[in-house]
Amino acid sequence: MSQIAFLGAIESGLIFALVALGIYLSFRVLEFPDLTVDGSFPLGAAVSAVLIVNGHNPWMATGLAVIAGAMAGFVTGWLNVRLKILHLLASILTMIALYSVNLRIMGKPNIALLGEQTLLSPLESLDTPYYVTTPLAFLLVVVVCAALLVRFLNSEIGLALRATGANPRMARAQGVRTGWMILGGMALSNALVALAGSLFAQSQGSADVTMGVGVIVVGLASVIGGEAIISPSTVLKAVLACIVGAILYRLAIALALNLDLLGLKAQDLNLVTSVLVMLAIVLPRYRLRRPVG
């Protein structure tokens, strides 16, 4: 693998670390299997891309993308909490609806951002090449988001959020309004995913309505893979596991696609992803089941 390919893998690994943090919040903390992310990732990309090509400030564009993602998560939570639709189905409904919404926002299936003023533009004027500075900038973003998330989950509200996922009946008896917790948690989760989508579009130089396909599986692969490496016994460790998992996953994919002897090509990405997730789920179970001694 070349240095550029390696740093490229790190870069997208860091972006998907944000997705993994969002998925950790929904799948693990709230125990809410949320497929909205397949829609909120391109939503973040679409909102920021449209604003950027229309000459708006990229910071504002990214900020609004995050808010749009939060709204998408809120809708999924609302369908589940208020309308009592099964969580998985609620998230699928939002995801499907977002496909149309994203097309409407962009007005076309694809928006190029080449030559536009993005968050990453200031980095281009530096002496260091972009393939070094971009991953460093994203590392900073991930560290800040992760630190804030850990601090939040250890706060009084964060603890209530964790109890909501683990034992909602007990949480209610302790005065936790579990409905609001789910709405807020889902909003936060999808805000993180939309941020990832926005950054992905700005670093790749385009937003595409199909870019969300399989984001959920990649994110889940990162969470599960990370947990296999770092045991998530505390919030801090669980969050670190997401980040490590996302980066290693991207490296593994880059490696697999780079190895000529496997004969894999870029179009095999989703197949490889699914197989990796399957292995990550099954292998730890197999290891436990083996008789000891």
């Binding site: 601090r151 939040f152 250890n154 706060s155 009084e156 509200i157 964060g158 603890l159 209530a160 964790r162 109890a163 683990a166 034992n167 009946r169 007990m170 949480a171 209610r172 008896a173 302790q174 005065g175 936790v176 309004r177 579990t178 016994s233």
Partner: protein
């Protein structure tokens, strides 16, 4: 002061499985009273408890706590007034959270939760002291996951959790029923101590007539959704299990054939 006024609870209205779990309960519990509730399966004990905690909505009637009408409030909204220990040791605490996190969660009952850290050294010390009274060595295991504790230990911690913050009524839902006899006695003893010490108003559901008479200041018996007797004071202190059974057949004109209730 807790008041139930003509409370009815119906489940599955309009379906073949419609049940009328509570049929007009009138009950007044004064401050500091410790009421034990007995009754056979399906008598309405759990419905009574759930109607008080807000977990089920009453079909008609009023629930008042300290004069405030809470009939329409859900569990979370009543939490500042009502504390609860569940029958299932797994239900009353979060197994994925640590012991100290569970305590912190319960410590915030009835208070507004904010973005302050849920735990810091200043807050941990009282938890440690409180746990130490159990003599289970849990004060040195604050960071252990709740799921590592035995059923009895979890029930003991649940009891501490329920009484960390004051409440208008403490609901105990057969909280010793799932434990072995020795542990059950330990938890019951602890219950008695804490209730006396904190002067809680409490309502304890139990399957055992002996237990119902042994603890508390007042005993009510439910049968088919109604209160069939309500005894306290000197009258209560003179009664034994046998007298309770007589009382039951006198009021109902039938004999009680629930083995689980007799054996207790």
């Amino acid at each position: 002061m807790i008041r139930l006024e003509d409370v009815h609870v119906r489940f599955g209205v309009g379906t073949p499985l419609e049940t009328h779990a509570l049929r007009g309960i009138d009950l007044q519990i004064s401050e500091g009273e410790f009421v034990t509730v007995i009754g056979s399966n399906g008598a309405g004990k759990s419905s009574l408890l759930n109607a008080l905690s807000g977990e089920i909505a009453v079909s008609s009637g009023r629930v008042r706590i300290d004069g405030r009408d809470v009939t329409r409030l859900d569990t979370a909204a009543r939490a500042p007034l009502v504390a609860r220990v569940f029958q299932d040791p797994l239900a009353g605490s979060c197994e994925f959270l640590t012991i100290e996190e569970n305590l912190a969660l319960a410590d915030a009952r009835g208070r507004r939760r904010g973005l302050k850290p849920a735990l810091d050294e200043r807050r941990k010390q009282p938890y440690r002291d409180y746990l130490a009274r159990l003599n289970l060595g849990l004060e040195n295991r604050l960071q252990d996951k709740m799921g590592l504790l035995s059923g009895g230990q979890r029930q003991a911690v649940s009891l501490l959790m329920a009484t960390l913050q004051p409440s208008k009524i403490l609901l105990l839902d057969e909280h010793t029923a799932a434990l072995d006899p020795k542990t059950s006695a330990f938890v019951l003893d602890l219950t008695r101590q804490i209730i006396e010490e904190k002067q809680c108003t409490a309502l304890m559901v139990t399957h055992s007539m002996k237990q119902a008479l042994a603890v508390g200041t007042r005993t009510i018996m439910l049968h088919q959704g109604r209160i069939i007797f309500d005894i306290r004071g000197e009258e209560r202190s003179r009664l034994g299990v046998k007298d309770l059974l007589d009382l039951f057949s006198k009021s109902q004109g039938e004999t009680l054939d629930d083995d689980a209730l007799l054996l207790g």
